[in-house]
């Protein structure tokens, strides 16, 4: 066997990549005259040591789980869906319409309705690029990224001209009615004696994201459709020969992907802002790509990678609050992690593989 053991592939490679990224980040922080150890402590302290910090970390993670799964599902069919941003935006529109125009008696029903709305709108936004790819061969990367811009322009039009309350300055919808507000972690876990997750935006959607991980795992590895998607991804001629309809499979994979991306908006729109704002997605669609890459397109990997990025976001916010590290450098640190764990994966993997092989040869 000329491969390294699975545990090394799944654990050691990302870990070493992370350490490399952390080392370079430390150099960057030293270069601007701050102390990297203090900075790291502050990040850990703010993101993981307090319950409200966790509340933010998990809130960001929820977004990244959905967009990461979206990219992962499409990638199993070798579709590179980089339109998660636009699909989530339009998904948000679905959430807003459902919450604003249907009088829900209880949040649980509203959640069901808004999930449907988000998934349908998100999937619909993925349908056109999917159709163009499957039928016309227009490259999905190009079409999905262009649809991000169309989504932004469309949402802006809808918010500014149609949904904005008269006289309001913010291009946003009115506040959703009380009955649609989702319970936050604060509502769920706080007692009068010990307030937990105070003011943090994490909400019940996080459990929905965990459920989505499980369902995606079932879909990809335990259903016929998942098998078809993977088969198509590995080899289209072989899949065709086996009687799999590539047009249908590509479109269905992209619909699921778009639906998952759309679901992210339930978290930001119904869970956090409780109204639809213009930039509620803020790049989570793109972070999803890094999350899926780092998580090897496996739901468990996506979950862990999403938690890591949630930590980076919340830790970054703490750095911005209490140090003089400018926000541009915080983005640099986040980017280094993406670069090492996503793009430069092979830089760590190939030497590591050699070491393992040499070690094995030495043993035998």
């Amino acid at each position: 066997m000329d491969r390294m053991p699975a545990w090394a592939d799944a654990v050691l490679v990302p870990l070493i990549s992370l350490l490399l990224a952390a080392f370079l980040s430390a150099l960057v922080i030293i270069a601007i005259g701050e102390n990297p150890i203090d900075a790291f402590k502050l990040m850990v302290d703010g993101a993981l040591m307090r319950s409200s910090g966790w509340g933010y970390t998990l809130y960001y993670a929820t977004n990244f789980i959905f967009t990461g799964l979206a990219v992962a599902v499409a990638f199993h069919a070798r579709m590179f869906n980089i339109g998660g941003e636009g699909q989530a935006m339009i998904g948000g529109l679905g959430v807003a319409l459902v919450c604003l125009y249907i009088p829900w008696p209880h949040w649980s029903l509203a959640l069901l309705g808004s999930c449907l709305g988000a998934a349908i709108f998100g999937a619909a936004w993925a349908l056109i690029p999917a159709y163009l790819q499957a039928r016309r061969g227009s490259h999905i990367v190009i079409t999905t990224i262009m649809f991000n811009f169309i989504a932004a322009a469309f949402l802006n039009y809808v918010l500014v001209n149609l949904l904005r309350p008269v006289g309001a300055m913010d291009p946003a919808t009115a506040k959703f009615p009380e009955a649609t507000h989702l319970p936050t972690f604060q509502d769920m876990f706080s007692t009068a004696a010990s307030p937990m997750f105070r003011g943090a935006p994490a909400n019940v959607t996080f459990f929905l994201a965990l459920l989505a991980c499980l369902l995606v795992w079932l879909l990809i590895w335990r259903t016929r459709l998942g098998y078809e998607i993977r088969a198509l991804g590995h080899s289209e001629p072989a899949a065709r020969y086996a009687g799999i309809n590539p047009v249908r499979t590509v479109i269905i994979a992209m619909l699921i992907s778009g639906g998952l991306a759309g679901l992210m908006s339930v978290n930001t729109t119904q869970g956090e802002a409780e109204r639809l704002i213009l930039n509620s997605i803020e790049g989570a669609g793109f972070i999803g790509i890094a999350v899926a890459l780092m998580g090897r397109n496996h739901p468990l990997g996506v979950l862990l990678a999403a938690m890591l990025f949630g930590f980076l976001y919340q830790g970054g916010a703490e750095l911005a609050l209490w140090t003089n590290i400018p926000r541009e450098l915080i983005v640099v640190i986040q980017a280094l992690v993406i670069l090492f764990t996503g793009a430069l994966d092979n830089m760590v993997r190939i030497p590591l593989e050699r070491i393992f092989l040499a070690f094995r040869r030495g043993n035998s």
Binding site: R50, Y56, Y157, M169, E272, I277, N279, A320, L321, I330
Partner: protein
Amino acid sequence: MTLMQKFLASAAAATLCAGAAVAEPALIFDLGGKFDKSFNEAAFAGAKRWADETGETFREIELQSEAQREQALRRFAENGNNPIVMTGFAFGNVLGEVAPDYPDTKFAIIDMVVDAPNVRSVVFNEHEGSYLVGMMAAMASESGTVGFIGGMDIPLIRKFACGYVQGVKAVNPDATVIQNMTGTTPAAWNDPVKGSELTKSQISQGADVVYAAAGGTGVGVLQTAADEGILSVGVDSNQNYLHPGKVLTSMLKRVDNAVYDAMTAGTDLETGINVMGVANGGIGYAMDDYNAELISEEMKAAADEAAAKISSGELTVHDYMSDNACPVE
């Protein structure tokens, strides 16, 4: 209070600025960023002026994401920062929710009205200032065509545009005003390259004065106008110095004064709505050495006369946001 103590202890252990005072004020910049040479930078200038004069320090944060709005407000309030000043209407909703939780902390929000007993809402009559620079632009224009380049297409920027067009038409009813918005996403606040392209496009349509109300994007507008030899009008901060002799004037929105006043008042900050307009010096146009040669006596007289009329209430500039419509195009 254990949470608070824990936090304070950890902050004290990790903070890189020694000796954080308890009643330190805090300033939160909106997503556009601190150094946009415009709106946020004006706020920073006000805070810095206060810090230089008093020798005190203040906390600040540049936001990176929407969820951080509430986070920053709560963390600063819990840290004992007072007052907490924030720039931008986008804080409105969040502040409305957070302010009641911290009744002992004073908040000041710029560009938005939040109705809470511990909030000071500072709003500006930008349409009045835009009207004044519109008049000056029309008088400076030789081609009879002037341009407007907005940032993100939102009601606030249409308010600028509407006031500007009214000013232009007041001087020259036959003038053409070319209007462009840079974009539909928040990135439009910080896209100088696109600002530059729009300026070139407007020049090719005959514009010889352009007014940029576009945050950081305006830097590109002013640069291109200067390169192509036409005049430009800056916004929010005094931007005349950026291209001496090429920037006709700047529409001043004294955000710096609003921040300075709030920090000077400290914990005694007077709450309620504070409208800053031409009448109380919150809005105006910039005159300095850099543009002295560009502004004729006649222009200055006309603008000052209009300003006096606006102050006395004799002249009302239509506010786009009162009915989401503009009477002139």
